[in-house]
């Protein structure tokens, strides 16, 4: 851990926050290594912003300690911490122009000749022309860039971003995601990014921590989280998952064989986060895009060794790059399948009997003792 430069590490140890009887953040251990792009992902009220504000010093933790590198900063006020924040809705000073907004931090630290630095920074975010405008004269995207510039000019050890793109429209948000990623690679500063948008977290971050109800549900790279969710919350909150309740039948080699409805499903043991005793329940999950759809008449053509279940198409919607089907299966009433529009089978219309099949390697297993719908639809509320 202690390599040559770890001054940009953020280390949270047993940190928690309670407001009266309400616990916003349960004791939490977290290490964000120097130079990484780290995302805290969760629905509103999950404690992600509180965690960020405790790193910034804007919120006093109820317990635990905050380290920046080797320095303990738990009780340091925000103006003595080498971290800067890009606030939600930016918090640009309305009475100062863009130049003075960006120069604010430098001036407060007693630096006299700020001109060159500010001009360079404004050029970096492509706002050189706007230096003498007031914040309200800029567009949302421009204001966002000012907020980033105002924080970055102080070369903080860590840059904290609190829903920095929440106020932008979809197209601009995509553009700014790439922009922020580029800046982070360029300056090499640790970024801690709070967002409720799972797509944003996955595009930008090296590591994502999914938070729910004041706890970190799972932490890992975006691919890891998507392919191997450990909880139903993660499985449902990141993208869509089809979850089937199944019973452990036998084990064969590295695989577990399960019974679901009348059929059998195979699940690699390494991809199962639940205990697997024979006769025990397991939730079997599979992502909608991993599934192939074959009309029941052609069931014989499906290769051996694939997991398969049968059902009836309840609904289909064509959305350009793919067609999304909702299948009514005995084991799972609303099974979702995304099929690429390569060879469209004209028989696949609502009412058609179909067979769903997928490579067992794409199956994951979850503990059945959780709410099967945790994390479903939360994104809509938060957005």
């Amino acid at each position: 851990m202690n390599t040559t430069d770890n001054s940009g590490d953020v280390r949270l140890s047993g940190i928690s926050k309670t407001y009266g009887a309400f616990t916003a953040v349960h004791p939490l251990d977290l290490t964000v290594p120097q130079g990484s792009f780290f995302a805290l992902l969760g629905a509103s009220g999950c404690g992600k912003t509180t965690t960020l504000r405790m790193i910034a010093g804007l919120e006093e933790p109820s317990g635990g300690t905050v380290f920046l590198g080797d320095q303990e900063v738990t009780h340091l006020p925000p103006y003595k911490r080498p971290v800067n924040t890009v606030f939600q809705s930016y918090a640009l000073f309305p009475h100062l122009d863009i130049f003075e907004n960006v120069a604010f931090g430098l001036r407060r630290r007693g630096i006299k000749s700020v001109k060159k630095q500010v001009v360079d920074m404004l050029d970096l975010v492509q706002l050189g022309e706007q230096a003498r405008k007031k914040p309200h004269q800029l567009s949302g995207g421009q204001q966002q860039r000012v907020a980033v510039a105002r924080a970055l000019i102080n070369t903080p050890k860590v840059l904290l971003l609190d829903e920095p793109l929440g106020a932008l429209d979809l197209k601009l948000r995509r553009q700014m995601q790439l922009e922020l990623k580029r800046i982070q690679t360029e300056v090499g500063i640790t970024f801690v990014h709070v967002t409720h948008d799972q797509e944003e977290a996955m595009t930008m971050a090296d590591t994502v921590a999914v938070m729910n109800a004041g706890r970190v549900e799972q932490l890992g790279s975006p691919t890891d989280l998507y392919e191997n969710p450990n909880t139903t919350f993660v499985a449902n909150f990141l993208g869509t998952s089809n979850l089937i309740e199944a019973e452990v039948d036998t084990k064969s080699g590295d695989d577990i064989v399960l019974k679901a409805g009348g059929g059998k499903l195979v699940l690699p043991e390494a991809r199962c986060s639940a205990p697997t005793t024979t006769g025990g329940k397991v939730l079997v999950g599979v992502r909608p895009e991993k599934i192939s759809l074959t009309h029941a008449d052609d069931a014989g053509e499906i290769p051996e060794g694939r997991n398969r279940i049968t059902g009836k198409i309840a609904d289909s919607s064509f959305i350009g790059v793919s067609t999304q089907y909702v299948i009514d299966c005995p084991v799972c009433p609303e099974f979702e399948v995304y099929a690429q529009n390569i060879d469209r089978d004209a028989r696949l219309v609502p009412g058609a009997e179909v067979v769903l099949h997928w490579n067992p390697a794409h199956t994951f297993g979850l503990d059945a003792a959780q709410d099967i719908d945790a994390g479903v639809d939360i994104e809509e509320e938060a957005a």
Partner: protein
């Protein structure tokens, strides 16, 4: 890679207490001087006044608290006409202010366009001329030989108002009408400004929506605009009624002995006759009456947050 669980053992646990929460006493220091001022020069005087109102004695021998509540009874039985007049005049002025002020506030909020700022300035600017000078100007405007009285006479309006007891003969000055007119004039801006503030907050699209939903213009006003401007109506009427009820300047300058309001009585008792207990009792009754009316009014109108 980040790790969620294996946070390395901490350096020797820092055994210092968190710093004392900053600024626990700050609000009290901020409040202290101003509140002290209000307590000493606003609240305390009320107590002194209450005590004075139940004292007896004379200016020469000094006053003593004798719990002489009869002062209240005497004051009320002698001066109830002035009390009644104050309430009536103030209520009339408030209604007139609302009727006159609403179109102006509406005009500024929705119809003035680029003239809005200019009209606002014109509403506020008269404040900068002493209100006494402006009230005296009404003496000229309503002068017996002036054009206003001439016109009202020619139209026989004064016959009607005389019959109602609002004016007497061919005169407007020194009549109730002149006093109410002066009160209305003096407190009109206090009605217009809160009305404007609450009208201006109304989304103009609501008018369009109402129109779209088959409301005629007047129905739109009755069902949408007016209810939404209620906070302005409530604070405007309060800001007009309260000072008008306690005013004695208009009654003195534009009225006669027959239009004396309770303010005139208190002023005379206090500053000329030097009957402090009676003056204090009258002032106390006025305060209690106004607070009571205001409380009931606020309760009934359902607007609690006026400040």
């Amino acid at each position: 890679m980040a790790t969620a669980t294996e946070a390395p053992p901490l350096a020797p646990a820092p055994d210092k207490k968190p710093p004392r929460k900053r600024g626990r006493w700050t609000p009290y220091w901020l409040l202290l001087p101003g509140l002290l001022w209000l307590v000493v020069f606003f609240a305390l005087p009320m107590i002194y006044q209450a005590s004075t109102s139940v004292q007896t004695g004379s200016l020469e021998d000094g006053y003593k608290v004798t719990w002489h509540f009869a002062t209240y009874w005497d004051a009320l039985s002698e001066y109830w006409p002035q009390f009644l007049r104050s309430v009536l005049y103030a209520a009339a002025a408030t209604v007139l202010c609302l009727l006159l002020g609403y179109p102006l506030a509406y005009l500024i909020a929705f119809r003035a366009g680029r003239w809005r700022n200019l009209i606002m300035i014109l509403v506020i600017a008269p404040f900068f001329t002493s209100f006494l000078i402006r009230t005296l100007a009404w003496k000229t405007i309503l002068a017996d030989s002036g054009p206003v009285v001439g016109a009202l006479n020619a139209l026989h309006v004064l016959d009607v108002t005389s019959w109602l007891g609002w004016t007497s003969g061919d005169r407007v000055l020194a009549t109730p009408l002149a006093v109410v007119c002066g009160l209305t004039y003096n407190f009109l801006p206090f009605m217009v400004l809160p009305l404007y503030t609450s009208l201006e907050r109304i989304d103009g699209r609501l008018h369009e929506a109402a129109g779209d939903l088959y409301a005629k213009p007047f129905t739109t006003f009755r069902k949408v605009t007016f209810p939404l401007s209620m906070p302005g109506v409530v604070s405007g009427t309060l800001l007009t009624f309260i000072p008008a009820a306690g005013d004695y300047v208009n009654a003195e300058l534009l009225g006669s002995t027959d239009t004396r309001m309770i303010g005139n009585v208190i002023q005379t008792q206090f500053l000329r006759i030097l009957d402090y207990p009676t003056a204090a009792a009258l002032s106390f009754i006025l305060m209690a009456a106004i607070l009571l009316m205001v409380t009931i009014y606020i309760r009934r109108s359902g607007t609690e947050d006026l400040v």
